[in-house]
Amino acid sequence: MISLLYVLLKGSIMKEVAPKFFDIDFGTAVIGYVLITYGSTWAGLFALGQGILVDLFSVGPVGLFSLLYLAVFLSLLGGCRFFDLHSPKGQVILICVAVYLKELFLLLLLLVFSFEIPNSSSLLILLGASAVLTGILSPFFFHFLYLLRRLMIKGLQET
């Protein structure tokens, strides 16, 4: 639900406040959260679902974001061997790296599929800034998701 809301709201909010190609991607953080909470199978499925959802609402080639979010999932899964995704430090590093890799992979895919990419020197900087900012914000987002889960469990127990 959060992911769906995020995808639906993201376009309207981010386009108003951020420059083009600046993409704070909490979708990656949600994949990370699902990975440490529900395991790799659910995280993989969630990544695929999220990608399909973004593909539906975006005008990019079909399957592009499904592939990208699967790549994000794989990079997080691999990254978990070196960093602890439960700790804020690990979250910042892993999410930052995963988002930056995702953006670079997207750039590569668009070039491969002959999509027009503006030759802007600031593009890589913008992508880096989005990755760093997403990484820095991710511990707060993880905390929010933990809190939400706790509240939901409490609500379920009460009912």
Partner: protein
């Protein structure tokens, strides 16, 4: 028969009325001045009256200020609620007025072109930072088909690229993957407008000796089989002539404000080559 007691009471009443009548008739036309006796009575009774009045006033004040205020909190809350509701209503009315103005402009535009068009509401924007598209609230059920042109009163907005029964996705002209066959209205120089950023597009393939100056209006040529001829796209904001390039570097600022896109017109014709863009005389 009246008994003697009643007759006596009657006489007393008559006497009292007579005294009162005498008093009234004697004071007619004269200024009312207290006699020394009256003054003395007043001097004695007035302080008592003063105390009674102030007591009553205090009690009354106390009543109004405290006891009667018990309901005021409820009334206040109710009034606040009412104010909030009225504010909301006012805001809705303002929104309706604004929507009405926008729709009126669209309607005027629709009347200018001889083309069946359908008004649609923008309901969402592209969730990625990479592409420029919007979702509209009309789809196949409303008669929309792929590649139909989408415009508003300012000019070209985009074209339909995906359709659902009740929704459609519009690729905006500011997307880097959109290409609109255009010409300079004044000199009829041709080129293809592609998105560069949300504020600027680039007009590609404008020949070196082409007559293009800053301020020229760029309109659709009608050659791309999507847009009818003559729809405004933007205004030239910069022209550069690089000796190492084959074509002129022409930057175009779109006329449509894409960040404030709310209602659009979908032109319900799939083949615009018949040049249907005829202005009313």
């Amino acid at each position: 028969m009246l008994n003697p007691r009643r007759i006596r009471i009657l006489w007393i009443w008559i006497a009292l009325f007579f005294i009162a009548f005498i008093l009234v008739s004697s004071s007619f036309g004269k200024r009312r001045v207290w006699s020394p006796l009256e003054q003395a009575v007043i001097e004695i009774t007035a302080p008592v009256q003063k105390v009674i009045f102030s007591t009553v006033d205090t009690v009354q004040g106390f009543w109004w200020k405290y006891f009667s205020l018990v309901d005021i909190r409820i009334v206040n809350a109710s009034l606040k609620k009412e104010i909030d509701a009225l504010k909301m209503e006012n805001s809705l009315y303002r929104e309706l007025v604004a929507a009405n103005r926008r729709l009126e402009t669209l309607l005027q535009f629709k009347e200018v072109i001889h083309w069946d068009a359908l008004v649609a509401q923008v309901i969402g924007k592209d969730p990625t930072g990479w592409f420029e598209s919007v979702m509209i609230d009309k789809g196949k059920n409303a008669g929309l088909r792929l590649n139909m042109a989408v415009v508003n009163a300012q000019g070209a907005v985009g074209q339909l690229v995906s359709l659902a029964p009740n929704y459609a996705k519009v690729l905006l002209v500011i997307d880097q993957n959109s290409a609109v066959d255009c010409l300079i209205q004044r000199s009829r120089e041709k080129g293809i407008v592609k998105g560069l950023s949300p504020k600027v597009c680039k007009m590609h393939y404008v020949v070196k000796n082409g007559d293009v100056v800053v301020g020229d209006l760029v309109v659709t040529s009608g050659m791309g089989r999507v847009y009818p001829k003559g729809i405004p796209v933007g205004r030239v904001v910069a022209v550069a002539d690089d000796p190492w390039e084959m074509f002129k570097d022409v930057k175009v600022e779109p006329l449509v404000n894409f960040s404030k896109l709310e209602e659009v017109l979908v032109l319900l014709k799939e083949d615009p080559l018949s040049n249907p863009y005829r202005f009313k005389e």
